[in-house]
């Protein structure tokens, strides 16, 4: 074993080499290659000639691209907000010393264990107007009942929201609940002595303390939005029309089905730029927050480490 003769620090450094190589080639190399392809006229194979920004111009002419790009923000925004709000409400309700807490937590949380494919298929089945909820309620005698989100191009995106919120809000509840539990009970006792209403306590004292917890939640949710390709495939296939298309699906469709890797690469690069912009924004926000916080010297406990 020649390794034995090396100094341990060297070994530690060598251990990292494969990972670094893998990432530099696999992630960053791939990224650059995609960038290069996006400037070419490549169809099925990356052999096209250099055509500058032509693919990007053509992309901007495609209404389908605009719809899918907008959907990413609509879906992302509504999903993140609803998930957080619902998770927060559940967590606060759970924090009121209710019974059967463990059973409830198990119920709220299990969807997070399931794949988006399973989630999508289950909800497609429930929301399908001819077999699911609508058919059921009509069967109860409400023949005029309509719950037909899947068929409406303006509303179909909300079926994705429903399924995604179902999938993720339990986790938000668990994280926020853990944060609430870690709040010092002295604080609550003091507030009761002072006669401060619970609602005011939550709004003014508890929730601001949990700001880092919310940031954790947002990071988790944002990572989910990027992965939402599977959910769209399982639920709507991008339809009706292309009203529920997402950039992730647009790219995969053009990469393989349409055999237009030049266009697909251009779309992927725009996705990348969007994510980078959001990362920069969030790191700036974090820095600003840390800055203002260090003045007060307060550092609340991270709730999710319990």
């Amino acid at each position: 074993m020649s390794i034995v003769s090396l100094r341990p620090h060297r070994v530690a450094q060598l251990v990292l080499v494969p990972t670094i190589l893998l990432t530099v080639i696999g992630v960053y190399g791939s990224m650059l290659w995609t960038l290069q392809i996006s400037f070419t006229s490549s169809g099925l194979l990356p052999t096209g000639k250099f055509i500058g920004l032509e693919q990007y111009f053509k992309l901007f002419e495609q209404d389908r691209w605009h719809v899918s790009y907008r959907n990413m923000f609509v879906l992302g925004g509504i999903y993140m907000f609803t998930c957080l709000a619902f998770g927060l409400l559940l967590a606060i309700a759970m924090d009121q010393g209710v019974r059967a807490k463990n059973v409830l937590q198990t119920i709220f949380l299990y969807p997070i264990a399931l794949s988006f494919i399973v989630t999508g298929l289950a909800w497609r089945w429930v929301l399908n107007p001819t077999t699911g909820l609508e058919y059921f309620v009509q069967g109860l005698g409400f023949s005029g009942f309509k719950f037909n989100l899947l068929n409406n191009p303006e509303l179909a995106i909300f079926t994705l929201v429903i399924a995604a919120v179902w999938h993720g809000s339990g986790l938000m509840m668990a994280i926020i609940f853990a944060g609430l539990q870690s709040v010092d009970s002295e604080l609550w006792r003091a507030s009761r002595v002072d006669g401060i209403p619970k609602f005011t306590m939550y709004r003014r004292v508890i929730l601001p303390m949990l700001l880092p917890v919310f940031l954790t939640c947002i990071v988790l949710l944002a990572m989910g939005v990027v992965k939402s390709y599977d959910l769209v495939v399982a639920m709507t296939g991008g339809g009706p029309g292309y009203s529920t298309d997402l950039p992730a699906k647009f790219v995969v469709d053009h990469l393989f089905d349409r055999a237009n890797i030049g266009r697909a690469s251009a779309a992927a690069v725009l996705m990348l730029l969007t994510v980078i912009a959001l990362l920069v924004l969030s790191s700036v926000a974090t820095r600003l927050r840390k800055h203002s916080q260090s003045d007060q010297g307060a550092k609340p406990e991270q709730g999710n480490k319990s």
């Binding site: 990972t19 709220f108 339990g170 697909a264």
Partner: protein, 285 residues
């Protein structure tokens, strides 16, 4: 502490129970539908209970339902998923633990930058890397193979796992490592004899994150696994997409349930660890 049932408390319970119903509905529908016959499904609504416990849809989904012309159910997908998961998780955890240990306890120049570079990659959308990876893998001769799909899972899974291990190992007392070094132990001896035995908890957390991530993946399996190694999620989507004659929703739902079961059981068995597992990546990110 006893509490009276005030209107506010009734409201809280009502909210929690309605919410619980919302979370349980899809599961209820999947389970009951999978136990019904085709005629029962067509005749009744999705919220009716099955007339009899009929597991024939389950056995069909597992072993004889058709995916294209291949009528072997989703069991091949199950075993493929197991293969992919065991290899991906095993390799990822081992490499991540070693790397996390190296970054946390040893003098590595630019360790902060290395970590940042790895983590940034974890946030980027897969779509940016898909096509070049297909090309690279085909040059290396591992496109559409078990090795290919495992490698891509390792590639995308490693950064967060390394972060988890590093955050854990950084809290180990430095004296421990120093003492080992005085005894003449090298990097690997220290790791295997001292550090690894202390890592059971963090390994469980990391394993949960890795296992659920790999098991629930669809896109990477679809593109990189190849026909002979397609994971269960892809098999499920194919099964639901194949319809010969009358659509058999009970079989579709049974297949959905079977696909969902492994991570669900893991969730029920691991309890608290599970939340830590799935959130671990975002902590101190």
């Amino acid at each position: 502490m006893t509490r009276h049932l005030t209107p506010a408390r009734i409201g809280i319970y009502a909210f929690l129970i309605i919410s619980a119903a919302f979370f349980l509905i899809p599961f209820f529908v999947i389970v009951t539908t999978s136990l019904k016959t085709v005629d029962e499904i067509r005749g009744g609504s999705i919220f009716e209970l099955p007339q009899a416990l009929d597991f024939s849809a389950w056995t069909k989904a597992w072993g004889t339902a058709c995916i294209g012309r291949d009528c072997a159910g989703i069991s091949p997908g199950f075993f493929n998923s197991v293969k992919i998961m065991v290899l991906s998780t095993g390799i990822s955890l081992f490499v991540a633990a070693l790397n996390g240990f190296a970054l946390a306890q040893w003098r590595v120049p630019h360790d902060g930058k290395i970590l940042a570079m790895l983590l940034l990659g974890a946030f980027l959308p897969y779509q940016v890397m898909l096509y070049p990876l297909v090309r690279m893998f085909s040059i290396a001769g591992i496109n559409q193979s078990l090795a290919g799909v495992v490698l891509v899972h390792v590639l995308f899974g490693l950064p967060i796992l390394i972060l988890i291990f590093r955050n854990f190992y950084i809290s180990l007392p430095a004296e421990l490592i120093k003492a080992a070094r005085v005894d003449g132990a090298g990097f690997f001896q220290t790791f295997f004899r001292i550090v690894l035995p202390m890592s059971v908890n963090v390994i469980i957390v990391a394993a949960i994150l890795s296992v659920t991530g790999v098991w629930n993946d669809y896109l990477l399996g679809l593109i990189f696994a190849g026909r002979e190694n397609l994971p269960m999620t892809v098999a499920l989507a194919g099964l639901v997409g194949t319809q010969i004659g009358v659509p058999e929703y009970n079989v579709n739902m049974a297949a959905t349930l079977i696909t969902a079961l492994p991570p669900l059981l893991l969730y029920l068995a691991s309890g608290r660890y599970f939340v830590r597992g799935v959130t671990a990546g975002a902590v101190k990110g």
